[in-house]
């Protein structure tokens, strides 16, 4: 039938950039590479947790440490200049990638969670109070849910949750009833890491802006997997992580509209974020450096830009087309297998991940058995415990796909799921 013929790019060529995909698993985790049974090909279906890193990005990290390792913004010497220019230009690359107007609107953070906390602390603690409200959705990742919940407790602001329909979509009528003139922030996940739902962020932005509220989109699962433009989304803030998009861990980005970031005070104090310091007082550096206190993740920041260049080479439209293809195929194959409950919207209308449960098999047992077949998936609550409560399950299994995954790997997943189902039958 040739689903492979519909690949929007040469997947085998992409796979060649990821040597880790060739490794074998199945041995003793405490002594990898040794012992019997260590001969099962890896089928990596956990990219929504973290993606793999292609050679050009790994090379970028090595080139930095071998060639021009130096602290940024601190020296006149050549290495510091080279490092500073590369680190600053990385902000430009990220800005271009999401349609921001320039580096002033891109703050490098540790990850999506830190970006969320930056806004919650620097803006939320200052601006929110009793009578105000923040609107989230029931499908928020803990990174935004816990953050705004706790900021709500500290400021007295009400935190509200847009309900999720039976099909795993946001109840937009409920959203309209929650967002009012006291709403200061609407913080919603763009693509759900559990349901795979692609939320209508432009619609939510329009709704929020009608009430003069800001909009924060959690782009952790969307920016890596599809074209994202902050103008098209109409958002005021967007956060995402490098390690889910072919980059290293320890680097993420906050997009913030310049005029808002300008008015916000710093989140962390210290070196590099100041302009002039006396014993009595200090003034702050320009954007975005005002929000990047201390020595940043320099190699990771530069490699983050290299990851984006890698993705742009393939084209984000193509990445999305590939994700869509695999998601629909996995959804259909798991449905046909029988005894599998899949959460969220149908296969043709979701991001590149599928969370499910197999009748009679706990997600952790399933994941353990799949591991014996070399299939790496996530099992647990995926950092959406309240959503799992709503779904009526304690845990689920989640297979997630990226540009290097193939139809054959999904076949391996489905076969192993079938084996697990039969073992427990």
């Amino acid at each position: 039938m040739g689903v492979q013929e519909q690949y929007p790019f040469d997947v085998e060529a992409v796979r060649a950039d990821f040597p880790i995909l060739d490794r074998k698993v199945g041995g003793d985790p405490e002594s990898p590479g040794e012992g019997p049974g260590d001969d099962t090909p890896l089928v990596y279906l956990d990219s929504a947790a973290t993606s793999h890193t292609p050679d050009p990005v790994v090379d970028t990290i090595a080139d930095y440490y071998r060639g021009y390792n130096a602290n940024v913004h601190r020296g006149i010497h050549q290495l510091s200049q080279e490092a500073s220019v590369a680190y600053e230009q990385a902000h430009d690359t990220v800005a271009d990638f999401v349609g921001a107007s320039g580096r002033e609107e891109i703050v490098f953070t540790k990850n999506t969670t830190e970006a969320m906390n930056l806004v919650a602390y620097a803006w939320g603690l200052e601006e929110l109070g009793p009578g105000d409200n923040v609107v989230l959705s029931q499908m928020e990742h803990h990174s935004s849910l816990v953050t705004w919940q706790q900021i709500g407790k500290r400021t007295g602001a009400d935190v509200r949750f847009i309900e999720v329909t039976d099909e795993g979509r946001l109840d937009m009528e409920h959203a309209a009833s929650l967002i009012d003139d006291d709403t200061q922030m609407v913080s919603v996940v763009h693509v759900s890491n559990t349901l795979g739902t692609v939320n209508p962020i432009p619609e939510i932005s329009a709704m929020a802006h009608d009430h003069d509220a800001y909009v924060f989109a959690d782009g952790a699962q969307s920016v890596p997997t599809r074209p994202v433009d902050v103008g098209d989304l109409g958002v005021d803030f967007l956060a995402f992580s490098g390690h889910k998009m072919c980059g290293p861990t320890g680097i993420g980005a906050l997009y913030g509209r310049e005029e808002i970031l300008d008015e916000m005070g710093p989140y962390l104090y210290g070196g590099d974020m100041i302009r002039r310091v006396s014993f009595e007082d200090s003034t702050w550096e320009d954007l975005p450096w005002k929000f990047e206190a201390g020595t940043p993740s320099i190699a990771q920041g530069i490699a983050f830009a290299a990851a984006i260049e890698y993705l742009e080479e393939i084209g984000m439209d193509n990445v999305q087309a590939h994700e869509d293809l695999l998601a629909e195929y996995a959804y259909d194959e798991l449905t046909d297998l029988g005894g599998v409950e899949i959460y969220g919207p149908p296969g043709h209308d979701r991001g590149g991940l599928v969370a499910f449960n197999v009748e009679g098999v706990h997600a952790h047992d399933l994941s353990s058995i799949l591991n014996d077949y070399g299939v790496a998936i996530r099992a647990g609550d995926h950092c959406t415990q309240p959503l799992h409560d709503e779904m009526g399950v304690a845990a689920s299994a989640r297979a997630s796909f990226y540009l290097y995954n193939t139809v054959e790997e999904i076949d391996a997943l489905v076969e192993a799921v079938g084996e697990a189902r039969d073992l427990f039958a």
């Binding site: 199945g26 985790p29 405490e30 049974g37 001969d39 099962t40 098999v361 706990h362 997600a363 952790h364 047992d365 353990s368 058995i369 591991n371 014996d372 077949y373 070399g374 647990g380 609550d381 415990q385 799992h388 399950v393 304690a394 845990a395 084996e419 697990a420 073992l423 427990f424």
Partner: protein
């Protein structure tokens, strides 16, 4: 390929599908509930002691969770019968994995030991050695 693996040999599946001593005691000396929040595994253990209060006379458990945690609780419930409170205190992780008779992968040890932890904590609360507000979790 370590087919389904070694961790899911017949004995484990048997105890999972047909748990022993599943249910409730009419007159337990102590009852304790514990959980692993991230898996959603929950186990409730009830223990009745002999007249001297030193030896375990009867055990019942109920629970919800993965095969490893449920099979482990089931096997433990058989093993505890006739055991002294002191012997219960001394049960360690190795004893549990030995009882299961399979290699438990490092990420799953917390599932395997939940039942033992619930029984031990329940016993300690019964003796006033542990604050009953401390809920048992094996994830810390």
């Amino acid at each position: 390929m370590g087919l389904g693996s070694d961790m899911y040999r017949q004995q484990i599946l048997d105890h999972y599908k047909n748990p022993r001593n599943y249910g409730e005691l009419e007159d337990p000396d102590f009852t304790h509930v514990g959980e692993n929040p991230s898996c959603g595994d929950t186990i409730r253990m009830q223990v009745a002691l002999d007249d001297a209060g030193e030896t375990i006379d009867a055990v019942r458990f109920t629970g919800d969770g993965c095969a490893i945690s449920m099979a482990s609780a089931s096997m433990l419930s058989e093993r505890l019968h006739g055991m002294s409170i002191e012997e219960l205190d001394e049960l360690d992780t190795d004893d549990v994995t030995e009882m299961l008779g399979v290699d438990i992968s490092p990420m799953r040890v917390k599932c395997a030991v939940l039942g033992r932890q619930v029984a031990q904590d329940g016993s300690k609360i019964h003796r006033g050695e542990l604050d009953p507000d401390d809920r048992t979790k094996t994830e810390e």
